[in-house]
Subunit: 456 residues, 2 copies
Amino acid sequence: MDKETLDAWFAAHRAAILADYHALLRFPSIGADPARLGDCKACAEWIRAFLDTLGFSVDLVSGDPAKPPLVVAERPAREAARTVLLYGHYDVQPVDPLDQWETPPFEPTERDGRVYARGAQDDKGQWFALLQGLKAAIACGADLPAIKIVLEGQEESGSGVLADLAYDLRKRLAADVLLVADTGKEASGRPAIVAGLRGVIHFTVTLRGPKYDLHSGQHGGLAPNPAQGIAALVATLHNPDGSIAVEGFCDGIVDPTEAEFALATEGGFDENAYFEEVGVYPVGGERGVPAIVRNAFRPTIEVNGIHGGYGGPGSKTVIPTHAFAKLSCRLVPDQSPQHVWECLRAHFERHCPRGLSLELTEVTGNEPGFRLPIDSPVTRIARDILDTFDPRGAAFTWEGASIPIVARLRDLTGAAPLLVGFGMQEDRIHCPNESFSLAQFQEAFRWGGLIFPALA
Amino acid sequence: MDKETLDAWFAAHRAAILADYHALLRFPSIGADPARLGDCKACAEWIRAFLDTLGFSVDLVSGDPAKPPLVVAERPAREAARTVLLYGHYDVQPVDPLDQWETPPFEPTERDGRVYARGAQDDKGQWFALLQGLKAAIACGADLPAIKIVLEGQEESGSGVLADLAYDLRKRLAADVLLVADTGKEASGRPAIVAGLRGVIHFTVTLRGPKYDLHSGQHGGLAPNPAQGIAALVATLHNPDGSIAVEGFCDGIVDPTEAEFALATEGGFDENAYFEEVGVYPVGGERGVPAIVRNAFRPTIEVNGIHGGYGGPGSKTVIPTHAFAKLSCRLVPDQSPQHVWECLRAHFERHCPRGLSLELTEVTGNEPGFRLPIDSPVTRIARDILDTFDPRGAAFTWEGASIPIVARLRDLTGAAPLLVGFGMQEDRIHCPNESFSLAQFQEAFRWGGLIFPALA
């Protein structure tokens, strides 16, 4: 297979490819929302039918009928060929705030060469483009490895079903290479091989106080205030210099090697470009640490949401009954998620404001961060392909984000992870008006058309 | 007039009194909500018709047709009699969270001797019961002073209309005594004369960051987080011992006199009863200061609401675009509201987290706290009446709450404030399931029937 053949195939089948892509995006497969379970199942059925046409034998696997099923597929090859396991997810993030979408999130809309929809990039667009590349390779009669696929429906909410079933499925999913289609390009636009991912823990911390909302004049100075308490409690998580103040949280952190640091920082970090794109300068995290290191090689504790009391127009003078914060922590090698969680729990218990009661709930994610070798044989194959995509060649990146299930699949299937994706910052994943450009889509298509034959 | 005559009159006219009371409560007169302007105006019209039957000449006065009008009424008396100005408000607090109401807030419902409705106590129930007492006194041919009434429709949202018009109305409202019907009994249930009220300032502080919600993995450690920032900023307002940390905020505070302190604390403070009633121990405010002093003689900064980012089920890993806190400060003599506001603004500017932008909006309330003489002639008249209501006699209280317009009316009309009300903690004003017992209603009725003739 070569790039020119693939590009010609794409041009010839463009309408059909995009029609299928749009059909896939129309499923509101929000895996975290129980009300969308039927939509998730319908989406999985649609994928089953699609993979069927590529010669896969497909199962929808679910240990619990109340959860979105896994799509598990297999396509044999001649004896002794390599086995490649493709991982992706068909669930998408919630869509609120809905009023900020310019077009409805589940009506894919093309504007200026981009497709706007929830999941257009994360993650439907990524693996679907790659599979269209595989489809082209099959049509062109390319020599292929044995291919296995697992697409889950809960990546955005903790990968519960796959985590639960991974052990039972470990032989069925055993492979040489774990191809992950859920990452991004380098900020400059170079295609990138991910050499590190952060782990993650999510949880909700709630402070409860009065039995009912109290009048803040009658009770001000008397009753402890949960809204004030949650602010004080959250504020204890960081030191004034932005570093993490939770005792023991940073135990065991491994700093990047010189080679890793050199590759990670070779592109530099354009603070003004960052400001232009997102509207803030990159001044989060610990002062005095370079931006790329803060994002890729250091853990974080982020407040994803904080809520308590009145939020409407004007004022309402209450001391509310409760307040909560939704937090997520990104972890790096070699932080133990279990140890981190123990440290957090102890911290919250120690700092719980007087007179209020503490609840820690919705604890999900228990996967460590990890790094990958930058010079293995599989990495070299990938790099050789991606070097042809851009005159500057391929980049290595250490991602701030997490794909918690990757470490677990690696450990259970014995496969060497290879993470290549085509996301860009402007895709605005997890946000209103998520999109994926057709140029990115076509790069992912090429990648799919080239990497499978190369691994045959 | 005497208590027995009034009680007999109440018993004879009970059904009509309560029917009128329910009719008044059915108006959803939420003065802060522009969508309820029509309901506020209809409520004012209903009150006009009611006062008309008592021989008042009534005007609805509004400088701005988009705001709830003032009800201004006048009932003359013989030459040289005292003039009494009655103040109350017909607007009510918002009703959210609506799902916590056992019966709808604007369908008054009687259960176990209590009337449940928004405004049942605060403040419709209080002044309406008092006016029913006046009606009985009129019917019984009592000698009465000249009576003026001003009922506003914006007390719960800053008293804007009345504050704006008070200067123009100062001659029309000029009086000897300013009778305020918007306060409570002592915690033990003794009738009480309010000897002090706190002032109040409300405002909203907002921190703005990214142009759109960011992925907290991709951007964690890079982008400054407004939800984290608002927690950190709010946490700077208090010292670890609970005292206020805003420089200059407490300048000029006048401690209670020995006589005031003795009267304020003579009833003691039952911490266990407080816990039983509201579900928390009174451990808010500054450590080491007695509860009654913290509530009545010290200022507060309370968080009435804090909001930013995701608040739904599960997790959504975002760094939100903005977060805000709604705050209110209670002030005591001799704090200058203007000076306090300057101190707060300087504090927020000094502590605004790096990379985020600060907005201070919805600033309302600019009235100081004040204290009243505990031994003036009018106070003695009131005390003599209230001493007959309870074998323990009347109490003096220093309220933690605010009626910001009182100081202004006092200054403009020259009237000596007299604040007597019959609220109790269990009335849950400002909260779901607000109520007023018929026993309290009847006490307010008696008070109205006795105080006007006594001031003739």
